[in-house]
Amino acid sequence: MKLPLQWPAWLRSERISRLSAKLAGRLPPMPNLDRLPIPEGVRKAMPIFVRTTTFKLALLYSTMIAVFSGALLAYLYYSTVYYIRVESERRITVEFEQLANAYYTGGMQRLSQAVFERMTLSGSPFYYYLEDTAGQKIAGHFPRLPDDPPESGMKTVYFDFELPQTDGSKVLRPAAGRIVRLRDNGGALMVAFDTAQQTVIVDRIQSAILVAAPVALILSLFGGVLITRGAARRAEELAKTAEAVIGGELSRRVPMRGTGDEFDRLAQRINAMLDQIGKLVEASQNTGNAIAHDLRSPLTRLRNRLEIALSAPMSERDANATLGETVEEVDRVLDTFNAILRLARLDAGTEGLRVRMDLSEVAEELAELFDPACEEAGLAFRSQIARNQLVLGDRELIGQAISNLIDNAIKYTPEGGSIAVSVTRGPEAMVDLTVTDTGPGIPEFERPKVVERFHRLDSARTQPGSGLGLSLVQSVADLHGGELILADGSGPKDLPGLKATLRLPRA
């Protein structure tokens, strides 16, 4: 039985050659599965992921794991087996040194004695044999040398011997020994040991590795497939969602796993993008509706008026008057059109600066702007504006929103009433801008509808205005991350008045 000191045949295989090929940069190319003559039916049955980058990744991953496992196992094998061998050699060397000592100090006599002593020691792993120049056995476990002693130096021999048992029977054991020719004498000494134990150990290691290697290979393939399948599935989800959205299902979103990993983050960003797309689509749809709804009537009116003017003979003065009215109507249409565009841009979120600005200042300026108009309308105007209330937003948009609120208040409050504008600290890091009037207010069930485009309370249909006022305020509130709150004022039940609050986050 030889102690194996080289790679066993099964290691010297294509794995090694593949490794070296890789190192040399000559890895054979990944088989192009599309070119393989796979019948259509089989190809269709192959799961989609086999044809993808994820499969190649899985294969690469598996290969790497397999290679590393292989290298690890090889190292393990080599170092344990090597250790066993080295250890045995060391012990034999020690033994020989001790015996050599005995020989040099006391000659053959002493050596024989030492050998006898060692033979009687129980638990010693070594077997001895000593003979004289004539080849006559002096002492030892064996009847004779298994081989001729060398002329010089040590000779290693492997042989089998019969080990007598306590019950009288004999067992055949493998052994390895070292024979040395004694100097000045011609005798020979052999120290041997039972290699059965070692062989058992080495065999055990070998078979363990033999089992572990293919298991590692299978597991690595499995692992590669599992991991990349997870990725493949996420990629597939993304693709499916995108397809659905393209097909028109704008409300579809990529499902999130809640793992917080890159795929979830990607899904989050894609969902945010889809939200934005949804907003834009809604904005443009609203614009379409708005144009249909609110521009058609005045344009139709215009057309009718002009048609009448064409058909009936008119005095020049009347004609001029008609044309003048027409121009005014067209101007109103243009105004409405601008307002619609404005709202569309607000909805799309593409308009609006975010700077630290003083809401109190804006409120004061607008209060001052509207005060005379209030008076003209026979309304009392009060303002209570806390100083230095800063918000993060767009002065123009907020100004327009406040202007709309005050304008509405003036429009709907009957003569003799009052309007109050206040700026106060709101709850939780917000600032409240409130416009309160003593008009009819807005009934609770109407409040959600009233901020929609073009809605106007039935009672107000006869009043001029494009009905976009409150919806602009809502859009501005949304854009700034705030809210529009509609509530009753402090008037009596039949004339409660409206308390409109624009609540914005503090800067």
Binding site: E351, A373, G399, D407
Partner: protein
Amino acid sequence: MADTLHHRCLKVLVIEDDTEMANFIEKVLEDAGHDVECAHDGTAGLARARASEFDALVVDRMLPEKDGLTLIREFRDAGGTTPALFLSALGDVQNKVQGLKAGAEDYLGKPFVPAELAARVEALGRRQAGEPQVTTLKAGDLEMNLLTRKVTRGGKRIDLQPREFRLLEYLMRHAGQVVTRTMLLEKVWDYNFDPQTNVIDVHVSRLRAKIDKDFPEPLLQTVRGAGYRLQG
């Protein structure tokens, strides 16, 4: 077109690639009594602007060859001082700021009210470089001393609130020209939205009460369909 009598006939260059729009603008301005020339792309426009002395430029933002922003920038870099007004379908505040930064003096979004355009072009025409720093504004027998903040008409002292003073100052600086409500909201109150109701009207009528009521000749006139004009 509403009546827009005024002193000055301005030489205006309109740079607009949409021929129908260009013709329309030309007509609006010619009706207002100005001389109008047209160019239809950025390169030609820049060349014309540099070749002749115009009183005002009306520039569309989206032009072939060279866009409006670049045109104005290059014009200013070359030393051109003609005041310019941008016309653009991109009417939001960010684009407006961009346009003003490029070197234009005013910015009007499309669609626009023709009277607004005419009024703003005339306001531009006033803004020639080299206008000396005045300390007193005059319109008829109305006098405003910018240093002492005193306003008198026919020698009689008129007391004005700060806002009324600013309003009158703007009207006087543009005496003889039509000034729209949008322009007033913009220049006197510094807000860019369209004023609703008659919010500006009331301020103007209060001012009118102070400067016109006790005097023989009304200086502050309402121009129907456009805005106001202070007789110059």
